[in-house]
Assembly symmetry: C2
Homo-oligomer: 406 residues x 2
């Protein structure tokens, strides 16, 4: 893609009113624009990042047998009244149609997926079953803030699973947990899994996948050595206490919830009279689990965790482009390089603007593609190679550049 | 994909209350479920079709230089008050937040894209510019009906273009028209383009791309021989009159609007004070055009136009799978065939259920993949090949099947 196709150019100055790094860098780099508090427009650069995150999440959900569907955002109020959500969930957006009908905007989809499951599940042979979607959610947040970390409109992957027994749910949860950890790893994030709220695995499970970042909203107590991690709200230990697993001194850190898992038990199955016949021929309500990952939030967290004073440093897996090509004059040579990169399916952003090298270098650092390539009179028939996360500069020929980027 | 992964099996009976073919066949085949009037859930089969339609539309919009972005559905009321839409558009869903703030749900996005364009357009050098998105829209329809043809929640591709002059808009419109006709052709549809409302090209343009179908909502007067076509509402001619272009007798037919183009003039640019400097250094409002294609509606129209009494007949370009493989026992042979098809990247739905051949054949016709393959004791080491739109049955070896499907 050439630079002018980005539609909106990077800003020279830090945008006013940005309370977090992700807001500041994503706006300044031209990835997003704020429409109002908690609601964002995704520009071409931002869309590309979202697409990559979605694809990673999709692959891993498909990998554990999740079936992708798409549920709408506009829900009949009756479904929410049935579960009590209509009166009890304060972030639920409510709409009255011009004929007086009441609708809710989906802030989660148990109220839609459970009645749908009545058609999918008749017998224990239909279990376990897991369906998921990647879809925009709406929440009437009082304090939408922290850029795209906490929005009124945000994209989420939500999966719902149905099980014959608690043991089966626990088995599936273990698979899902592994898939989640693979997802975060592929996104370049290290997530800590908080202990279950009840502290024991046989109680109702509620796990949170937390990424340490100052822009987060939770405080976690974690062990720097082993896997122990718990939300301070429910922790019985405090900072500097010994880890209950390995005796290392515990630390407290600010963290953002990148994903979660809830054991929904039989609540929704009971509310919607979802039953099946078990092996013994008895009518039973399945156990339900629910698994969320914020797609837009993940994008925000990635920026919080991968930047320096000059801009974003995207992990290759979610970078809008693998490389940003800069020409200092040498237009013909740059065109040849650009064509060769595209022919080799290497996603390239070519800054073909008539700007000074200084401006182009500054914007490349701000946008943060993993590799910067420079073609100039000085580089001759070679190409200057610099990785965003290193200061080392090399002169390579085109074949070597392509070989490294493929 | 194996059959049980569809989550919901095809229904034996026609669903109650289906007022149109697309509603009936899409529900019966397991592509969609109705959540409420005008709001649908897309199941795995339906999602796959939507994905293919989106990709065709995306390719053609990219091809004429459209830049893809993503605008939110939740809008501040101020934007809609500025254009008069808040009080004048009766299908606009309005929401009051718990703190008393008013929001609108996007039924179109001029109110978001125009203020955004203030950052994109400073000079005539930034023009023409076209941005588009593929996104869900919300309309408070009094009579949502005709299956997925007319919904309260539906997916649309909406493109917005900005121009220095009316002539430039007309040039771009010609390109967009060609792209639209290519899209409909790739979707297996024949669209007729209605004449401009004003009847003349230099008036405000409003073109509609109409597909003849009984499930449509408009009556068009068209020439069976040439391109002449006009909405009966604004036609000065009537049925059996002579075509003003070629003198053939005109016909009247029911049609569905698959796409449209509007000349928005300078209205929105004036409302949002969007200006740029033209070549002569004067401050001007750009001319705006808007181009819609209903993604979910297109899916419905395709079904209306491509079915028989047994089910849907998907065009290959948007079929959920290229082929449906059926085994009559012969499980091992079917597995070998399935593996070979997947290895060759041929999208295959394998009906591996323990059902009678009759049920499997009936469901294959209902779902409507372009090619049905049968493996049985009778076919030996050959495979039975039958196209959905033909009665001819052939016995082929695996290599020939793969060669034909690639």
């Amino acid at each position: 893609m050439k630079f002018h196709q980005l539609v909106i150019k990077p800003l020279k100055e830090t945008p006013a009113g940005a309370d977090t790094i992700n807001h500041q860098l994503l706006v300044q780099g031209g990835f997003v624009r704020q429409l109002m508090a908690g609601v964002y427009i995704y520009l071409p650069l931002g869309r590309k990042v979202l697409d990559k995150i979605r694809e990673i999440v999709r692959e891993e959900m498909d990998g554990i047998g999740g079936k992708e569907i798409y549920m709408p955002a506009l829900h009949p109020s009756a479904n929410w009244k049935k579960t009590g959500g209509w009166d009890n969930i304060d972030v639920l957006f409510k709409i009255k149609s011009r004929t007086g009908k009441d609708y809710a905007l989906g802030q989660s989809h148990e109220e839609v997926v459970t009645p749908l499951a009545k058609e999918m599940i008749k017998s224990y042979k239909d279990l376990p079953l897991a369906v998921y979607q990647i879809q925009w959610k709406y929440r009437d947040e009082l304090r939408a803030k922290s850029g795209i970390l906490r929005g009124k409109e945000f994209e989420m992957k939500d999966m719902y699973s149905f099980h014959d027994t608690e043991e089966d749910f626990e088995q599936f949860y273990e698979q899902a947990k592994k898939a989640y950890l693979r997802i975060f790893k592929r996104l370049g994030l290290t997530a800590k899994v908080t202990e279950a709220s009840g502290g024991s695995f046989t109680d109702k499970i509620s796990f949170e996948f937390m990424v340490l970042t100052d822009a987060g909203e939770d405080d976690i107590l974690y062990c720097p050595k082993c896997d122990f991690c718990i939300n301070t709200e429910i922790a019985t230990q405090k900072e500097n206490d010994n880890c209950p697993h390995c005796k290392t001194q515990l630390k407290v850190g600010r963290a953002s919830e990148a994903g979660n898992v809830f054991d929904l038990g039989q609540k929704f199955a009971k509310d919607f009279e979802l039953t099946y016949q078990n092996k013994e021929g008895q009518k039973k309500h399945p156990i339900m689990g629910c698994y969320g990952i914020g797609i837009t939030r993940a994008m925000g967290i990635i920026v919080e965790k991968n930047h320096d004073e000059r801009g974003i440093i995207w992990p290759k897996s979610v970078a809008p482009f693998v490389t940003q090509l800069i020409n200092i004059e040498s237009l013909e040579n740059a065109q040849k390089t650009y064509d060769a990169l595209l022919e080799n399916n290497i996603e390239t952003l070519w800054d073909d603007r008539d700007e000074s090298p200084g401006v182009k270098f500054k914007d490349a650092d701000l946008i943060g593609c993993p590799v910067r390539l420079v073609v100039s009179a000085k580089t001759g028939d070679k190409i200057e190679w610099k990785q965003r996360n290193s200061e080392k500069i090399e002169l390579l020929d085109l074949a070597e550049v392509i070989a490294r980027l493929k």
